[in-house]
Symmetry: C2
Subunit: 452 residues, 2 copies
């Protein structure tokens, strides 16, 4: 199965929907994986979605449902009977159920809570309260719990009896009578080792755990560092309250990276998909930073204003301002991007401040001199500029590239030191700061060299 | 175990190394996870690394070795005996072994190949030939292969006998006598279902597979979409040649994102860690794009040169050039970043071109008008500019923001259409293009409105 085959299948299904051949369609859908069916829904309108959804088998319906977008789910919830909705919800893993409830309107949530048992209602309410980016909001409660007195054989029998509706059985959790987490046992060990051994003999007591309120970015880092498939979540008394599985962490990694990309491009981050956002929502996330950066640019106006007499004397000086500013901005962005990314991956830490500064200093000399030299040649040959003008611009270029790289390399670290997100010290912010510096250097060098 | 505890442990170990208390150190190391020991090596010098490495147990040594950086591995390979090296290599999974061989100098590789069996030597040579970003370079060969005639009970017995040195046993592969992949069986099913069932009854025949030369980015997308733990790799005859496990995919996701961040900041991407790169290597990756963008800026010089008379008449016009250019550049980067990211995650496709264009058009009107209005107020009140000048700048702002967003939103899609990486159409490139447009608009509006 590859992308092309997927597209062909999509088209075949769409044709069947349009030709209303629902009998054939039902047969075909049985052969298709849930996530691929969910993808077909992207090309269906609301009415068609409901029709196709009704053609799914019970098991498929819940699976497909868990892959649909929030908008699509709403359309389906509105159209299906309460009994069918309850059947679907029963099939969902607890973390998917909570995600679903979080995005539904209050009346739907109420209806669902009403038809839940007292115990489940309490649990749902507790889970709905975990902050959005916390371990609590990622975890699920379908795990295998073992006792350390069990033998491997007993444990396997217990798993066989209780494993069907667990999200994973590959890592099992050994709890004491107060549900305190004592150790982990992998199914790998249970299957490979002698069945007469006791769980207490084979369980790992040195394990990684996280707390309900820990941040998802830190949790993703743990998964990467320790090559985890699941991570137990414990409360303050070290009692197991849930587990996080790697499939959810893959999504976290994507979301965290998207957030960084957006912040680094001077936007308020959002988890909504681009094509699903309306124009006002998109604009609202872009205006604040643009505004702030625009107002900051008032400084550059002031600087040019102060050197108006220089410009009046040699108006052509203005011609190189865009090139100088762009190059300085780009040079600074390169440095800040590398440092921000290095910090996000844990490769660069606060204590590396001096190392980064020194490294950027060396790099900036090499880059600055190389570009200054090329620019001098360029201006003499292609622009046919005067020698004084060419030297002014080239020297400014060397100095501003050096400044830009020092600023770009160190501001993200400073931001982190001040407990700000380093990602805000990316291209746009660095460019605004570096532009002002570049102009000051430019006019000062021009005044001196050209004797203005 | 959290980060703070890790740091405390690191310090304790470092103290033991410095005080040369090797007996105690050896005891302490037994309790520490391999990846955490590897982290301690970052703070050790070459000589200390070798000492600590010699204190590890046989099993630990191989594990720790697989987590070390390429530089650290070399130091250790130079210092340890051939027999110990061979022991370590035997313990490594095949994919880690290949990674290791790839980074070692030719004489070390030769030595290792010499002491391998004929069969293994052939296999190693074959694996070393797979391109860097391909499925072949990610896969390992330690998997469980089953026959469809086996019963569940026989399969479990087979796994018990052969599973110890497999990278994973959670997904098993059903092969025919020609090693053609016929289906998958999860250990979950084997443990949960009746042991009298046959593998052919329970195996999944609808599975996702990849080919040895497929690109790692596409493979990562498959893991995300289908929530996979492992992915089989087959050759052209559909024979199983290896498997890819999710821990390696987590690294791929990080690497691919880093590559995008670097490209979007106008750098040649590199996998080397910042702090491990020397200044020349860092500079070499930054100069080409800076140079290209600098030379492109020659256009802006030409534009300003053409309007020299306008500038001569009203030199203060130059004062707003930086603000206009920065705002246009930022507005364009916002759009291009969203689109590039959306395409990287598969949320936006080529066929969405019109949708994106229309969406950016609407957003750009909202953002443009909002910023133009604020700028007008700002210039009238704080800059005390003349009405004509304030109107000129504000109108230019609206027009350039609109252009910037259309350009930023559509060029990444166009790049993809032309089979280029959309990531090159990010901030720096968009800024350079949009700057030229902004200047043309500015001077034309100024000439008209101010009657120059």
């Amino acid at each position: 199965m590859n992308e092309r085959m997927n597209e062909e299948m999509n088209e075949r299904i769409l044709t069947l929907v349009e030709e209303k051949k629902f009998g054939v369609l039902k047969e075909e859908l049985i052969e298709i994986m849930a996530v691929d069916i969910a993808e077909i829904f992207d090309d269906l309108d609301k009415k068609q979605s409901v029709i196709v959804f009704r053609l799914l088998t019970k098991d498929q319906a819940a699976d497909v449902f868990s892959y649909l977008s929030s908008e699509q789910r709403r359309a389906i919830v509105e159209a299906i009977h309460e009994t069918q909705l309850n059947e679907i919800l029963e099939e969902l893993f607890f973390d998917d159920k909570i995600d679903f409830l979080e995005e539904m309107p209050a009346n739907v949530v109420k209806r669902i809570l009403k038809s839940s048992t007292e115990e489940e209602r309490k649990l749902i309410n507790q889970f709905l309260k975990y902050p959005e980016d916390s371990a609590g909001s990622l975890m699920t409660i379908e795990y295998i719990d073992l006792r350390k007195e069990m033998s491997v054989k007993e444990a396997l029998a217990y798993i066989k009896a209780n494993g069907v509706d667990k999200e994973t059985i590959y890592i099992c959790y050994v709890l004491d009578e107060k549900r305190k987490l004592e150790g982990l046992v992998s199914l790998r060990k249970l299957v490979l080792l002698d069945e007469k051994l006791l769980i207490s003999d084979i369980m790992t007591e040195e394990f990684i755990a996280t707390h309900t309120l820990d941040d998802q970015e830190e949790i993703a880092a743990l998964f990467k560092k320790y090559d985890l498939l699941t991570l137990p979540v414990v409360d303050r008394e070290e009692r197991l309250v849930g587990i996080i599985t790697i499939d959810d962490i893959m999504d976290v990694v994507d979301r965290e990276n998207t957030e960084d990309f957006q912040k680094m491009a001077a936007m308020e981050p959002s988890e909504e998909e681009y094509l699903e956002s309306n124009a006002f929502a998109l604009a609202r996330r872009r205006i604040p930073w643009l505004m702030l950066l625009m107002v900051s640019a008032t400084f550059t106006e002031g600087i040019i204003g102060r050197f108006e007499n220089v410009l009046q004397a040699v108006a052509i000086l203005a011609a190189s301002i865009p090139m100088l500013m762009d190059t300085a901005g780009n040079a600074g962005s390169q440095s800040s991007t590398l440092i921000i990314r290095g910090m996000a991956l844990g490769e660069i830490e606060l204590k590396d401040y001096i190392k980064v500064f020194w490294s950027e200093f060396k790099v900036s000399i090499i880059v600055g001199v190389a570009l200054g030299f090329i620019n001098f040649i360029r201006m003499m040959i292609f622009v046919r500029a005067g020698l004084g003008f060419a030297i002014t611009v080239s020297v400014t270029l060397v100095v501003t590239i050096m400044m830009a790289k020092m600023v770009g390399g160190t501001l993200p670290i400073l931001a982190k030191k001040l407990k700000l997100d380093p990602a805000i010290m990316a291209g746009p912010m660095i460019t605004t700061i570096v532009d002002a510096l570049a102009l000051i250097v430019y006019f000062n060098i021009a005044s001196t060299l050209l004797g203005l």
